[in-house]
Subunit: 141 residues, 2 copies
């Protein structure tokens, strides 16, 4: 492992294994994404964080990277609002609260939500994935 490898730790290995060149940009973004617990970010949010961390990364690269990471299973795309995509660092099977006021996603913990009856998919189709979004807003009270 070279100096970049030592400096960037786990991210370096992940990229090598995926056959993606460990570039400065990808390493930096991987670090922001994966060294801070479970996260749900939009492309713009991630760019803001990069900037805050003194990394200059173009939006095009942010999108490329988010899409590549999604493709190789490091991220998962979540659609809750027309026009904006969220990328989720938690790739385990789970569902979400969506806070309509703040436009933030939050994981629903394991057992808190359970599908009683899973529907039979239509003739000739198979279930790819099930997404449950619980939309919440600030209680009126």
């Amino acid at each position: 492992m070279n100096s970049a490898g030592r400096r960037y730790g786990r991210a370096y290995e992940i990229l090598r294994e995926a056959g993606l060149r460990p570039t400065r940009q990808r390493l930096g973004l991987a670090r922001l994404l994966f060294e801070n617990g479970d996260r749900h970010v939009t492309a713009e949010q991630l760019q803001a964080e990069s900037t805050a961390a003194d990394m200059r990364v173009s939006l095009a690269t942010i999108y490329n990277t988010l899409n590549q990471f999604t493709q190789i299973g490091l991220l998962r795309e979540v659609v809750v609002e027309p026009g904006r995509s969220y990328f989720d660092t938690n790739t385990a099977d789970h569902h979400h609260f969506f806070h309509e006021e703040t436009a933030k996603l939050q994981d629903i913990e394991g057992e808190a939500i359970v599908l009683g009856a899973v529907p039979e998919p239509p003739e000739g189709t198979s279930v790819e994935r099930i997404d449950i979004i619980v939309r919440v807003k600030n209680a009126v009270n």
Copy 2:
């Protein structure tokens, strides 16, 4: 009821009750939407149908109308793909299959899907709505 009223039937009443002027465009769109059973349409699909029915309606009006109908509870917006919104004429509580290959929505019938455990919403929030999307693709077989 005037001649428009007679010609457009139920749609006319719906609009009057909602306080929206029963214009030619709104009546025509209401007819396409509500006189053909449960439907899931995008703005562009609806415009194509209008054209096929020899009604010239601008896309801006299609959007205005879909949004107004959604606002007054005649439609419900369903988000399944980034970048495109579907409008659902079935406003009852229900969930969806989404066919990834054809980009079509299909209602899941009443009892076919059941939430075993409904999660407690986070402190200070209340549940606005729960959306379940079962994404299916053509079975490999």
